[in-house]
């Protein structure tokens, strides 16, 4: 927070829920950096234009979750670059761009086939959930099915995707 700036609404909630958020960050992989990351989040919120947020605490946890995902993705691509520099292996990232897009196309084809094999409902529900960001309750209403049916379809799809990813990672 810049000197003289009053904490905005989200920052006020952040202060009040500091312990819970820091504990979440620590559990979520920040470990002893949790306090620092809490501070990073604080700074980020200071730069956001004030706008109404439905549930401020949930918004803050979501921001913390996204921060940990960003950091993990960054760490993974850093590791990848490092292993490229050391020329350790013929990783996909060493290959020319045309090769990489070929791999991406192969993955897409495999994912689409895997989802299609689950049946049209699970396929559509997975895409609605992942790509359109529609919640489970709304999807259940759209299909006229129970929440637990939506959950089961999503579990099927996630499981199938995970199994497929294992196969690709092993190649």
């Amino acid at each position: 927070m810049a000197v003289g700036d009053a904490p905005n609404r989200l920052q006020q909630v952040m202060l009040g829920e500091r312990d819970r958020l820091v504990r979440f960050l620590a559990a979520r992989g920040a470990a002893d950096q949790a306090e620092d990351l809490f501070h990073d989040l604080w700074q980020k919120l200071a730069t956001l234009p004030e706008r109404p947020v439905g549930d401020p605490l949930s918004y803050l946890f979501r921001a913390a979750e996204n921060l940990m995902r960003d950091l993990r993705r960054a760490a993974i691509s850093r590791d990848r670059r490092q292993s490229d520099w050391h020329g350790l292996a013929d990783t996909p990232h060493d290959r020319p761009a045309s090769d990489r897009s070929l791999i991406a196309r192969e993955q897409l084809t495999a994912i689409e086939a895997t989802l299609a094999a689950l049946g049209p409902r699970a396929d559509k529900i997975f895409r609605r959930y992942r790509l359109d960001g529609v919640g489970q309750a709304d999807i259940a209403a759209e299909w006229g099915i129970s929440l637990s049916s939506v959950e089961k379809d999503l579990q099927k799809a996630y499981r199938a995707i995970a199994d497929l990813k294992v196969r690709f990672d092993a190649e």
Binding site: E65, L154, Y158
Partner: protein, 63 residues
Amino acid sequence: MTHRSEPTEIARRWAIRVADPAFDDWDALTLWIEADPAHLAAYEAAVEGEEWADRALRPEPKE
């Protein structure tokens, strides 16, 4: 069906739940991750799986 390891399966359920815009059970997620050192890795693997599918299905321009 092959027997699937529990943490992997439970982690996947957490990842699915967290992906819901209405998810607000963050303290319970914290407790579950804290309960066992293997849980965080299982959860991260589940998240990587869904992100992998997202990237393939919705290719975004780099940077």
